[in-house]
């Protein structure tokens, strides 16, 4: 600790250079935090054995649709309490930039399976009585300034209407909220019957089923029973947790985990070069000073430790700031993107620990060669150069 003042002042001897280096570290760890937070949402979650809700998709690919007739068969399987379904509509509001989740569904079962979604009874009733009715979450209503009674045109990117049109109009009958602090309300629900009758293709098909497991039933057994029911059929199924479903949804866009790792690898490699160069420059330009430290009695190991500590400190300052900002941004993203990938975007404790280890490791890697140079410095030669 007694060397901290010396280390701190050395770090800031060239304020502009140190600030820029810290900025690059900050950006690297901001990326790390964001990619980890999103990756967490896509790849983690409760194990199947602890799941209360299961999702059934086509075994080959999520983009393959399932027959609506599977719903009754699934409902008949022991351990299944309730079943609903949804389909990815993929539309936008007014401008292609205004994309959000829209799902035609069986709303009665949907709200039964998602009890955390809250909606006034009269609004739900109005929705059920209107074929072209829609329900939106309060986050979405706030985003677009919608209120009950509005007519909302949604442009389809997948589902053309039978009349050849691509615009689907809905009457906003209700705005739901959620009691789950990590849940999202940034999506729209509308009547499957209306969707199925009005679409040009895909009659009788849905995107996926969601079911709730009965109290006391084993989710693993239920999942196995469902998949066994449809084994060897033209549309075999794969039943998993909601998180696994989100992951398979995200895999449509590519191998997210590999992309994340490649990006982070490139970022951290560049970071090592930047910080290593900063440290090398810093040591080079104060060789006489390091020689003075050794002259007054600082041992080789102490000089090595001081230079290493400077490198690690730069990483910890930049990394800490990047993680902090990343954590805050992840909180916001959780609300904004949850409709797309199922929520759960947050920086886990494990990610924090890994980040701290990377900070220290990268600090050591970036500082080791300059530190060794400082340690091996010949006092006589260095003073002669000064």
């Amino acid at each position: 600790m007694k060397y901290l003042g010396l280390i701190w002042r050395n770090v800031w001897r060239k304020k502009a250079r140190t600030s820029l280096t810290i900025l690059s570290v900050l950006i690297a760890f901001l990326l790390f935090a964001l990619l980890n937070a999103v990756g967490h949402a896509l790849t983690s979650g409760a194990p199947l054995s602890a799941a209360q809700r299961l999702v059934v998709i086509d075994k080959i690919s999520l983009i393959n649709l399932l027959p609506i007739s599977y719903g009754n068969k699934i409902a008949a399987i022991p351990g299944v309490r309730a079943v609903t379904h949804a389909t990815w509509f993929g539309g936008y509001y007014q401008d292609p930039k205004n994309q959000f989740g829209q799902f035609p569904t069986d709303a009665e079962a949907y709200f039964d399976i998602y009890p955390e979604l809250e909606l006034p009874d009269e609004q739900f009733e109005a929705f059920m009585n209107n074929r072209t009715g829609a329900l939106v979450g309060e986050a979405l209503a706030e985003q677009f300034g919608w209120k009950v009674g509005d007519r909302i045109p949604v442009s389809a990117t997948i589902w053309t209407r039978k009349d050849g049109g691509r615009t689907w109009e809905f009457d906003l009958e209700g705005i739901f909220t959620t009691s789950d602090p990590r849940g999202t309300t940034a999506f729209m629900l509308f009547q499957y019957d209306y969707f199925n009758e009005a679409r040009q293709f895909g009659d009788g098909l849905i995107g996926w089923y969601v079911l709730s497991v009965a109290d006391g039933a084993d989710p693993v057994e239920v999942a196995n029973a469902i998949d066994a029911e449809f084994a060897n059929s033209p549309r075999e199924t794969e039943t998993s947790t909601e998180q696994a479903f989100a992951a398979s949804f995200a895999r449509q866009f590519g191998n997210i985990a590999l992309i994340v790792q490649l990006i982070l690898g490139a970022v951290f490699f560049t970071l090592l070069l930047v910080t290593g160069n900063t440290m090398a420059q810093s040591v080079r330009e104060r060789i006489p000073e390091l020689a003075v430290l050794k002259t007054v009695g600082f041992k080789d190991g102490t000089v090595l430790g001081i230079v290493m500590a400077e490198s690690i400190l730069i990483m910890v300052i930049g990394g800490g700031l990047g993680l902090g900002i990343g954590w805050a941004v992840a909180q916001s993203l959780n609300e904004a993107l949850a409709a797309m990938i199922g929520g759960g975007i947050f920086l886990s404790g494990q990610a924090f620990i890994v980040a701290v280890m990377i900070m220290i490791g990268a600090g050591v890697a970036a500082g080791i060669f300059p530190a060794l140079k400082a340690m091996r410095l010949s006092i006589v030669d260095a003073l002669a150069r000064g």
């Binding site: 002042r9 007054v296 009695g297 600082f298 041992k299």
Partner: protein, 229 residues
């Protein structure tokens, strides 16, 4: 004559420059009594600084023995020499070699970081050293805010803060004008006379050497001595 503080016997220092063998010091014998103020003069490349470096444990002789106080420097490891330097010897350089990021006070405290003194104690001792060199009022200033003479005073305060017996000065006035140089030399005299420091000063400047009690001349790695005027 006082008891010897430093004793060099048959000290040689040879450097290898590529294929060339350069002998900087040649079988040099020297006794420095405690309380001495010794000036070492000689032309460039004569071995003055090498002699000072060997006396201060910054360099090791190729041959011969160097004893300072009870320490046999020629047989000590790097780590042992580091520890010995921190407590037994103070260095003053021509270009002051202060750390530009530290205030005068913090520069003086540097050698005390190697001790077990508390921060308060380190500050108090650095304050005393700055007081001795007459710079108490400049303690919070950075080196760039000080004149050359003041910087050298801070360097001297840093050299004496651990209360070493031996003060080694390599051209301490080489970068100063006459007036400032004389102030520094008088300060070294005070440290020698009133504080009992043994001072060994390498200089090109005959007027600077006049402040010492005796002067040795080094030429081609060998010594000749004569009494100061």
């Amino acid at each position: 004559m006082s008891e010897a503080l430093a004793n060099l016997q048959g000290v040689s220092r040879v450097y290898q420059k590529g294929k060339e063998r350069v002998e900087v010091l040649h079988e040099l014998d020297l006794v420095i009594p405690a309380g001495d103020f010794l000036a070492i003069m000689g032309p460039s490349g004569s071995g003055k600084t090498t002699l000072l470096n060997i006396l201060g444990g910054l360099d090791q002789p190729s041959n011969g023995a160097v004893t300072v106080g009870a320490a046999e420097l020629s047989s000590m490891s790097n780590s042992q020499l580091s520890h010995w330097r921190s407590t037994h010897v103070g260095f003053v350089f021509q270009f002051y070699n202060l750390l530009p990021v530290l205030t005068a006070q913090k520069n003086v405290e540097l050698p005390l970081l190697l001790t077990n003194f508390s921060a308060k104690e380190r500050a108090a001792r650095a304050g005393i050293a700055l007081d001795i060199v007459g710079l108490s009022d400049r303690a919070k200033h950075l080196p760039r805010e000080l004149s050359g003479g003041e910087e050298q005073r801070v360097a001297i305060a840093r050299a004496i803060v651990s209360d070493p017996a031996l003060l080694l000065c390599d051209e301490p006035t080489g970068d100063l004008d006459r007036e400032k140089a004389d102030e520094i030399l008088k300060l070294l005299q005070v440290l020698n006379r009133d504080h009992g420091k043994t001072v060994v000063m390498v200089t090109h400047d005959a007027q600077a050497a006049d402040f010492a009690t005796r002067t040795l001349h080094v030429d081609k790695g060998k010594l000749e001595s004569r009494a100061a005027a």
